[in-house]
Each structure stands twice: as C-alpha cells, then as structure tokens.
Amino acid sequence: MEPDRAALQRGLAALGTVILGKSTQVRLCLACLLARGHLLIEDVPGVGKTTLAHALAHVLGLAWQRVQFTSDLLPADVIGVSVFERTRQLFEFRKGPIFTQLLLADEINRASPRTQSALLEAMEERQVSADLTTYSLPDPFFVVATQNPHDEVGTFALPESQLDRFLMCVTLGYPDADHERELLKSGARRELLPQIAPALNSVALLRIQAAVRAVHVADALLDYTLALIARTRARADLKLGLSPRAGQGLIRASQAWAYMQNRAAVMPEDVQAVLPAVVAHRLERREGLDMRAGSALTDEILKAVPVPL
C-alpha cells in the first residue's frame, strides 16, 4: 500500500499549493473523503471554499459536477428527471448532476428544504429513486457542500438531522498575513487547478478507503470515544448529545486520520484531531446567540474527558 500513501502525500502537497496556510483543514477534508464521508465547508464568502472543493476533486482524480444551489432549484435539477421519449413511447430517466463521483454543492443553504432533503437522502443512501426505479450512485460518491452561515436572508438553514449526514464540517477562516500577501500577489488560485496533476484515481481511492477501514481500533480507544460521546449527552447546556451515527463517524474519521499519519492503529490523538470537525456542527447549545457550538465547546469536551490509562 506504500504507493497509495505516497500518492496521498503528493495530493496533500498539491492541495497545499492551492490552498495556502490551511494544511490542517485540508488534511481534515481529505480525511473526510477517505472515510467515505460527505463534507461541509462552512465559511464566509471569498476564503476559498469553492476552490478547495474544486482542488479536492481535481487531486483525487474523480469525475465531478458542480451545482450552484439557489432558492428555485428543484430536486429534479439535482437528481434528474423522467422525460417522455416520444419516439420510443416511454419515460426515460435523465440522470441529473448527482450522478457523478464528486458533487460540489455550492451554497447548499440557499436551496429550498425540499431540494436539500432530496440531496441529503441521496447522500445517505447512495442511490436515487425515481419513478419506481432505483438508480445507484457511482462509487466512490462524495458530496462536498459549501455554505455561508452568516448569510441569513433568503436561506434555509440545514436542520440538525440533515447536518448529521455530513461527516465533517470544516471551517476555513481567514488566511494569516503572510499567506494573504501571497494570495494578493499571485491572483486567483483557481487558475492553478489545471496545472495540478491528479494524484489519485477512483480505483486507488477505493483501495485507500478499504485500507482506512482496516486501521485497528482498540477496545481502549472505543472506551475513550464512548466517554467523549457520553460527555456530550451529559452536558445540560446542549440540546442534543451525539448520536450513535456521529460516534461511528468519529471512529471512521479517526481511522482515516490515523491512516494519513501512517499509523496501523487509531490513537486518542487521532480522535482528538478530528473531533472538532466531526462533532461541532452536530452540537447545539440550548440558549444563546451562538447557534452552532464552536471550537470552544469541543475544546471543553476534549479537556473534560481524560484519556483512559
């Protein structure tokens, strides 16, 4: 499996040249995809969400489609539509943009709840049902969605149940001064994309995903993960604790992270590394202006739960 690891490192390096100074976030995004999870990139406009999504698709060497979500976007625009074929006298299903390996869903919170839920159902089941026929989505299949949480006019915030479908929610944030200077100097990063050679392809990616699933998870680590989850449920200031699905996701993401760290087994450090990205968007405080629990909350949880000896 060494070539795969090398390819992965190449891919990371390539991503690093496009997205400047965000190596942790980039690694998290990659880990999310290696763990077969869907990714939500959440931030204000103009920090490179879409560029990151593009770069990911590019580097992974996957077929990709991009959908710009708007309030008048219909489920059929995403999933596809059955059209009556006059010559053959039957309805024929025209596959929508979702039938691809990587779907870029830009500004997902601008779409109506109906469209959102159509997409999210497809994400979860990795198949689409239309006209009594079920169509499987390709494998691998990822959704990389972006959204701007501060934009409130004309948006439909994703409910928790749907946010839960995203394995990770990554926030980019502004670049630091040095990297911003670099950005200003060199112009649009998206122009760099064509110059990047894909580091992986779908076959290699599937292989890596299998390897990630094989990363050892010790009982002790499960104990630690359970303690973390229990902690979120015990806290009185949270509306909901983490679901079992979130726990599964946490383990999978940790496995991917451990794989990227060239480890044969998941360490508590791996859990700690992915935990904010995996759980922050699933936790909500009961009160207060801060709707979405931020990194401060995940930090508190991490600090409150001792690593068992």
């Binding site: 010790a218 450090e269 700690q272 739960v305 000896l309």
Partner: protein, 679 residues
Amino acid sequence: MDSRLRAVPPPLHAEREPLRPMLWTIAAFVAGALLNVDRIPLWATAVLIACAAWQLSVAAHKLPALPKPAQLILTFVLVTCVVATFHTLNGLPAGTVLLVVMGSIKLLETRGRRDRYIVIGAALFLLLAACLDRQALARLPLYLGDALLCCTALLVSAYGGAGLEIRVAAKLAARSLLLALPLALVFFLFFPRLPGGFWALPANDDAITGLGESMSPGSISQLTASYDPAFRVRFAGAIPPPQERYWRGPVLHDFDGYTWRRGVVEAYRQPALRYLGEPFRYSVTLVPDANRWWFTLDTVVGSPDKHVFFSYDYDLIAREPVTQLTTYDALSYTHTESSEPLSNFARKIESALPPNRNPRTRELAARLRERAAADPDFVRAVIDFFRTGGFQYSLTPPMLDLDSVDDFLFHTREGFCGHYASAFVALMRAGGVPARVVTGYQGGEWNPIGGYFLIRQSDAHAWAEIWIEGRGWRRVDPTAIVAPERLSRGILDILPNAVSGRTRLLYTTPLLVHLLQGWDALNTAWNERIVKFDVNMQLGILERLGVRSADWTALVAALASGLIGWLAWIAWHIGRSAGPRPADRLARAYARLCRKLARAGIARDAHEGPLDYAARIVRRRPDLAPRAQPLLARYAHLRYGPVGGEVAAAATAAFERMVLRLHVARRPRSTPLRRSKSL
C-alpha cells in the same frame, strides 16, 4: 496401571527453573546463616554449603534434583545430629542450627515461588536469631545489609519469570524498608517490654576476662596488656580528682604465701562508716565479662539492686554473672571514717599470715615494728622502705619463687601493683596491722565526645587497705609510692614495650585516639539508648510527651495510636501518589511512568494522549526525550495497537520492567539558552 495416570505431564520441576530468583534465594539464605556462622557447628556449615552448591547446580542444570526419599533421610539424619549436639531443639543456639539445617534441606526441594518464599522466610528468621544473640553497633550494618538482601530476594522472586532487574529490586526493597522504618520506630518506642532480661539467654562459654577472685604474682599483668574496655562511668555532677578514682573490685583476705584469695572467710560485721565530704553520683555500664563483680568508686554506700549483694568489705557481688550490658546508678564517698573498733574476729582474719612462709618479711616487719611507737609510725616506716628500697616498676618482672614476698622484697625488687600490694599487706600483717588487698581499677580515660570515663582492663590495679584504730580502713597504694607516674599516666607512657605494637600505634596516634574515642562514644550511646532501652525509658518518653503517671495502658495506647498514625500515613501516601488504582498491569505501569515523568516536572494532562505527551516532552525536556519517548510509543502501541494474547502479556511485562528501570532527573541536565525575540 490406569492409562489416565500415564498421561500425566512430567512433574513441575522438570520445567526450566529461572536461574536468577533461585540464585537470590540461595544468597539470602546463606547470608542469613553466615550471620550466625560462629555459633553453628562446623558440620552444619558444611551441610549448608553442600546444599547451596547442589541447588545451584540444579538451577544451572548441571545436576539432577535430589530424590524425595534421599531428602527425607537427610532430614532425619540432620535433625538427629542437632539433637546429639545440643541435647535439645529448644533455645537459641539449637534453634538456630535447626533452622540452618532445615532451611538447607528446603533449598534442595525449592521449586517455584512459594518454596523460595519459605526459604527467604527462614533467612529472615536467621537474621532475627543473630539480632537476638548480639546487638553490637558494629553489627548493625551487617543486619541492615542482610535485611536488604532478603527483601531484594523476595522482590526478585515475587516477580516471577526471569525476575526483576537487581538494581530495580534493590531500590524497591530499600524503599519498602524505609517505609517500614516509622513502624519499627513505633514498636521500638512503645511496644511494652517485659521487665528483666527476657532476651538474655544463659551465658555461653565465653572466656572469663577481667579481675578474678585471686591474685598471684603476675596475674594482673595479663590484664594490663589488654586494652579491652571493662566498664564505663558517667558522673552526674562532680567528678572526683584523678588520685581518688579507685574502682573497687574483689577484696582479697586470704594469703597462702604466694597467692591472695578472696577466701571462704566468714564475713565479719562491717564497721559502721561515717561519710565525709560530698558524695559522687554516677552510673556504671559494665561490659559483660561473665564475672559477678559490680565495680564502684571506692567507697560505695549500698547496693543499687536487690539482686546484688553489698558485702561486708564494701563490694557489690551480683547473684548472676554479668552476661549482658548492665547499667546501675551508684553513690560513693571517697572519704570515710570509722571510729568503731575492729572486732577481734575481724582483726584475726585480716592479720593472718601463713605460718611458715616468707620468714625474711616477718623479720623485716618485726624490726620496723620495734622502732615504731604506734601503728601509723610503723606504716610510715614501711612506706619509707618502699620509697628508698630501690624498687622498680615493671610489667615483666622475673618469676618469683614460692615465698613470693621474700623473693620480691629482698631479691628481684621489680614488679607492678600486684607485687607491691601483696608485699605491703604482708608486711602490715606481719607487723600486726590489719590489712587486706583490694583489687579493682584505677583511673580511666575521659572520653570528651561521650562525656564519660572508659575504664579498660589495662587500668586493672591492686592496692592495700589497712586498719587504723579510730579512723577505720585507710587506702594505701604502694605502687603510687614506688612509681607515682603510673597513676597519672597510662601504661603506654611508662612502659611502651609492655603492649603490642598494634595497640601502641592505636593508642598513641592522636587522630586514631580521637577516632577510637568517637567510636566508643557512639557504641556507648547505642548501648545506653538502644540496646538498654527498657520499660522505664519507655515510660520516661511517655512522661516527656505529657502523659502523667504513665503505665502499661498508656504504653499500649501510644503503640495503638502510633500504628494508626503509620497506617494513615501509608494510606495517605498511596492515595496521593497513585490515585484510583488502574485496572490492568499495562495501565499501572503507564501510571507509574507518568508519575516518574511528573516528578521530573513534566506531568501528563489527563486528556493528553501518549503521543502528544511524548511530543510535549520532546519540546520541553529534550534531555528526557530519548528515554521517555520510546516508552510512551511502546505504551501507545500496546494499548491501542493491534497486539493481543501472549505477545501482549510478554510485551507488557517488558514494558513494566523498562518503566521500573527508568530513572529521570528532576532538573534538565542543561537548560537550553533562551533567546529573546524582541530587541
């Protein structure tokens, strides 16, 4: 034969016995036996060595184990030997030998941990036997070393497998002993001691040293060459001047012309004394010498102990020989007077001379007596005779013939205290003055470190007592007349060749003298405070602690509270350092590792994983990293990695050992230079 029985696996001892625990067990037992080696017969030592050597060969797979029947026969034979030697299995000497012998046989069948525990237990009992037998300070390091050895052997054995590494085990053993120290202290201070010599077992056949009950010409010179201590005296208050430091011992009444004996004389009534001047209070600590004499400053007023007889001639005679360190307080007056007349009976005894011996002495006495008006004049004349007669002080005088006094006074004229006292008393008696020989010690060396006088065998002395009507018994020291310097200076100054070269070197080099004095003071303190620690001192401590009218109940209460205090201390210690006890071995070892690193100043946060912790150590304490990092990585692998079963158990044990072996310095060896970023 039942076929099932044939399928039984080979007996346990066919399995490979790890060498190291066996080695340590043997070492502990042999060391315990060696502590008693001078008290066990040679054959028992031979048995011990043979068994140890055999078992060593078995452990090294050079010899087969001794079969069971042979062991049984050996046991029977050896126990019979013990009984034959001691005629009993009771008591310390026989018990010690029995323990050595049985332990040696147990060694032969030692397989596995349980057996090793038994043998090490026997070794500990041998240590106890040695402690019961002798409590000299010089043996303390030996006993401590043996205790450490036994505890180390226990730890090495307890660990199983190839055993714990020696350095680690020794450190743990020392730590355990230290932790037990407060408990030992509590027991020492407050465990109710049975009054009387509970531990003092009947004296063994130690050679009797010191003054005896007879004096022949030359007998005291053997003592004079010995620098062994006889007793120590600590004065409370005033100290008598040097010329008054006469330590009274056996008084000799009976003379056969050559030897003075205490004699089987009928005691006469002791004339009532009037004490003059101030008394001297002091305590004497006798070195055990198997004699019954309790020495006192001349003249003691009474017996300090109901078991010690205060004789008519002012001697203290104990009922039992002195076989253990004995301390007593006494009160003496150096000046006394007696106006009573001496009874005829007493006068007869103290004037008796063998009829046909020493004729020239009688002649001389008669001559001097004729010229003297009264007894004091006669005494003065005799003293003058000694002063002017050309006598010489010598520790190696020529042999005297049977009429020893004649030979000495008119022929050899060379001798030491015994000769002079003997001749003087003979002359007195011949001249009709009641007189007797008093043996004892004179002088003593002041130990400035301990604040006491050390009286050595070399201070042994003999002098005369004469009866002057109207004044009582007066001391006359003819040696002081012939050789006054003998009293003020040591034997070394006067006759350096009288003692061996080694003794001369030891007692004339100032530095060595100081060291010897210091060592003697230390020994004395040890004997007085530790060995002689008894129920009275225990109660004294309680009273100093504020307990009024302390008694047994107070002692038991103090013991109980001390015990509880110790347990509380241990509990607190464990609770503080360990926290809740981790569930498994790996966790315990990891907790120990974290504690060690925490002591080095870099504690793990509870939520910190092993790898983050290692990374932090690399950043903060690079000096620790080379040792700490591999351990943390190993733990991470064992805890979270894909390992299990046998491999995990073995690796965990290895990890435990590595953690135990780890030593971390509290401070970094070199502080990295801090560079300021700001200008």
